[in-house]
């Protein structure tokens, strides 16, 4: 570690002290539920981060593996008697490890690609990052080596199709709405832009239906979350600044995203990773965070009538809460909209707010464990007998689709906006 860099663990020094190692996190951690070993628990990671902070560098190899066993889902924080922000501690520890050891080849590649939209527009490479999809784990004791890349060979993971033309290339930067109606900046996110373009189209249709002016700033980049998984916070910071510049460029009432993960980055991660030494930037990012709204929440706020816009065919649905929604307190709003949509019958599954097991690049390193966590999810979905599982995060959509296919089930996986916009788009 060079002297110039501050130790990211200093940022969470006080938070780490709050952990009394009571073990409550054993009951709530999806990673622990599959690994069943103490280093996968929140208190285990806090203990390791504490040793890391002490400068016990002999720890690094095993610690890297332990720190990778976290989905950053925030379940442990919700249920912790002392509200220890283990997610923030893990982020800091990953950054500290990256500083001390350098990034892994995989995460270096991730950083290079997500920082470069031109490169991402070049299909397969975009997929390489969005996807975890094209990586498969090589069985090894470390559980950390990767087989690089296996485009279109299938393997065991079911790979979503990459769109022929990215969403943002199909639309102008400014789509004028009715005068007097809100102006909305749309943060699209990579998964929507490159893979699930239907989510983008449906979102756009809904806000246009409400008369809003929708701006899709061309300068926007990846939110940076995939970089964070590997501790590449410098990439996250770089992307935060670029996105800030792109999103600030237009005066707008709201910054909206239909991706729970991107929302989590804009809302929580950006202000968090910018240190106190740059108060001006931190304040601007906080202002951006305050203006950022999830698509479903904003649709409800702006008074969308799903009976005018949404699905008419009779369908039994169940709803999955993305972790980045749960931690932001978003649960009721999408359900309320779906309940008002004609033809839809909402049946709750057991553990709707439990993590799907994707967890950024967690599923790349720990594909089997990720699937193991997902298996419980799939079973709960199938148990409801629903025709479709609906959610608000393209990442979850990829994971849920994979899990259901692995289970040989035909339940469809849809984004909330797709159902809400079905009528106006048909």
């Amino acid at each position: 570690m060079t002297k110039k860099q501050t130790d990211p663990l200093e940022r969470v020094a006080q938070d780490m002290k709050k952990c009394v190692k009571c073990g409550a996190c054993r009951a709530n951690c999806p990673a622990f539920s599959t690994f069943q070993r103490e280093p996968a628990t929140a208190r285990g990671k806090v203990a390791l981060a504490q040793h890391l902070a002490k400068g016990d560098i002999t720890l690094d190899d095993g610690t890297y593996a332990a720190m990778s066993k976290c989905l950053l889902c925030g379940s442990c924080v919700d249920k912790c008697p002392n509200q220890v922000p283990t997610d923030e501690i893990v982020i800091a520890a990953r950054e500290a490890l990256a500083q001390r050891r350098g990034l892994t080849t995989f995460h270096k590649a991730v950083g290079q690609v997500i920082r470069n939209r031109k490169l991402m527009n070049f299909g397969a490479l975009a997929a390489a990052v969005l996807g975890p999809i094209f990586f498969r784990k090589v069985p090894s004791t470390s559980g950390l080596r990767l087989r690089f890349p296996m485009p279109f060979l299938g393997g065991s993971r079911h790979v979503p199709q990459i769109a022929k033309k990215p969403f943002m290339k199909r639309h102008p930067e400014v789509i004028k709405g009715e005068p007097g109606k809100p102006t909305i900046v749309f943060f699209v996110g990579c998964m929507t832009n490159f893979v699930y373009t239907e989510i983008g189209e449906a979102t756009l249709a809904l806000f246009r239906h409400l008369g809003c002016t929708v701006i899709i700033p061309q300068g926007q980049q990846c939110c940076g979350l995939p970089g964070m998984s590997g501790g590449d916070l410098n990439t996250v910071r770089e992307l935060a600044e670029q996105n800030l510049a792109a999103l600030e460029k237009y005066p707008a009432d709201y910054v909206m995203t239909a991706c729970a993960t991107c929302g989590g980055a804009l809302h929580k991660l950006y202000p968090l990773v910018i240190g106190k030494r740059n108060p001006e930037l931190k304040a601007r990012l906080q202002a951006l965070a305050d203006r950022t709204v999830d698509a479903a929440v904003l649709l409800q706020k702006l008074g969308l009538h799903p009976e005018e816009t949404g699905a008419a065919e009779g369908m039994r649905i169940t709803y999955h809460d993305p972790c980045h929604h749960r931690t932001a307190g978003i649960a009721k709003q999408p359900r309320a909209l779906l309940k008002d949509t004609p033809g839809l019958e909402l049946v709750e599954m057991e553990g709707a707010d439990r993590c799907c097991g994707l967890g950024g690049t967690f599923n790349v390193y720990h594909y089997e464990s990720s699937l193991d966590i997902n298996a419980g999810k799939s079973a709960a979905i199938i148990e409801t007998g629903a025709d479709a599982v609906v959610t608000g995060c393209p990442g979850c959509i990829m994971q849920l689709s994979d899990g259901l296919k692995q289970a040989g089930d035909k339940t469809r996986v849809l984004h909330t906006v797709e159902l809400l916009a079905r009528k106006i788009r048909s």
């Binding site: 009571c22 208190r43 190899d61 002392n82």
Partner: protein
């Protein structure tokens, strides 16, 4: 450090994926809720009594310390590998072997999580009452080894009251069964009771036979607020004296309420100085009658609020006050010594007065709450270790709190155990003859002192 041949033998017993010697594993199996930390030399995860037996035989032969561990959620360091050695984790043995609805017994492995077991028997209309606060993550093996209690102990008793029999691997590697599944049984010494609460010093529990009860018909939750701590304390003994045994009788003093109120704003009356959370269960008509009687009995004791939950949701709302205690305490001071003294129930008012005096004498905040209905009070001595002199003061205050409990005919620990944390105070409660008798048992079963050495007895 264990030498390579020992590691090889351990690996042969449990398999390569079930032994760990990496620093990160050693750290993660070196702590518990005491916040002490000792690094073991190896961590093993056996899956059967046979594997445990082989590990102990090897350890006994080589005189290597072995430390049994469940979820590692103990408050006294019972599972900590002080001095190094092998941590033996029981969580892979986590099968519920059978639930016998004809005889109301169940047989489980030690790694089953308490709540998972409760849920499984409740599905069949049965009831396993012990409810330690850690039930969502603690293991039944750990509950038996520490003889865990919980709020429902007032009416139903503690873990040992539900253990009918055990399968245990002795420190020499012998696998024995104790007790059985009959209601009566007097052949030989009662080793089952001896092992309950033995803190992993006499054997490794590999199977447990539990007694079950029918699940109660209904329950009623009451939140009662008093204008003095004495009133609440007297309410406890008054209820018991009038021959009503509630399921739970949870007590919270004024500092506890202040903590909870400051953080969560529950709208307690200004005159509130203590709260009792009372629950009765059983036949629907009977509990209605009991709730009425309780109200009448405690009314004259300075009762300022009496709330009865109408349904499960309201009951949960009332319990919230109690559940919020733990997260609020740290607002008082960052470091906490959580003691769990017990006195005869009629002595609850006296012990509370003694603790108030100790608090004044040492001028450090002491927050009291807990299972007053069985005389078990959680005395939380809140300090800031970084302030010079506070740690020493805390130790002095703890000693006086223990002495107060003993003077009133009580004990220094109701459910947390001794482990490492209370070991220095043991001679206050046990005399030389008692300790000698206990040590004789220990050395008879564990001649080489390999199983959880250095714990409990001084």
């Amino acid at each position: 450090m264990l030498d390579a041949s020992v590691l090889k033998q351990l690996t042969d017993i449990v398999g390569a994926e079930n032994i760990a010697t990496g620093t990160q594993d050693l750290i993660c199996y070196g702590y518990d809720a005491t916040q002490m930390e000792f690094l073991p030399d190896a961590v093993v995860h056996p899956d059967s009594a046979e594997e445990v037996s082989k590990i102990l035989k090897l350890a006994n032969e080589l005189k290597l310390p072995v430390f049994p561990r469940g979820a590692g959620s103990g408050f006294t360091g019972g599972a900590l590998p002080k001095g190094g050695g092998i941590v033996l984790v029981t969580t892979r043995m986590n099968r519920i072997l059978r639930i016998d609805t004809d005889n109301l017994v169940a047989e489980v492995e030690p790694g089953v999580v308490t709540e998972a077991f409760q849920m499984a028997v409740e599905k069949l209309g049965l009831f396993y009452p012990p409810d330690p606060a850690s039930l969502k993550f603690s293991t039944l093996g750990g509950n038996v080894a520490e003889c865990a209690g919980g709020p429902r102990a007032v009416k139903y008793g503690v873990t040992k009251d539900f253990v009918m029999g055990l399968e245990v691997v002795l420190p020499t590697g012998a696998i024995i069964r104790t007790g059985g599944e009959t209601v009566k049984g007097v052949v030989g010494y009662d080793l089952t009771k001896l092992l309950c609460g033995s803190e992993g010093t006499l054997g490794v529990i590999t199977k447990i036979i539990f007694k079950l009860l029918p699940y109660p018909d209904a329950k009623k939750t009451m939140l009662t607020v008093f204008d003095s701590i004495d009133g609440a304390a007297r309410a406890v003994s008054t209820i018991i004296k009038n021959k009503i045994i509630p399921t739970t009788l949870e007590f919270m003093d004024h500092p506890t309420l202040t903590c909870v109120e400051r953080r969560f704003n529950l709208g307690m009356p200004d005159t509130a100085r203590a709260v009792l959370l009372i629950e009765v269960d059983g036949d629907r008509d009977l509990i209605e009658k009991q709730a009425g009687e309780i109200h009448k009995l405690i009314e004259p004791l300075g009762l300022v609020q009496f709330r009865v939950a109408k349904d499960a949701a309201e009951s949960e709302e009332l319990w919230k006050v109690r559940r919020l205690v733990s997260p609020s305490l740290r607002d008082v001071n960052p470091d906490k010594f959580n003691e769990d003294i017990v006195v005869p129930r009629s002595k609850v008012p006296d012990v509370i007065r003694r603790i108030e005096a100790i608090q004044k004498l040492y001028d450090i905040p002491i927050v009291n709450f807990g299972h007053a209905g069985d005389g078990n009070i959680h005395v939380n001595i809140m300090i800031d270790k970084s302030v010079p002199g506070q740690l020493e003061k805390a130790h002095e205050a703890i000693k006086e709190v223990f002495q107060a409990a003993l003077d009133l005919g009580g004990t220094m620990s109701g459910e947390h155990g001794v482990g490492l944390a209370k070991q220095p105070y043991i001679p206050m409660e046990l005399n030389a003859e008692q300790i000698t008798a206990m040590k004789a048992i220990k050395s008879a079963l564990d001649p080489n002192n390999i199983l959880n050495p250095g714990k409990m007895l001084p």
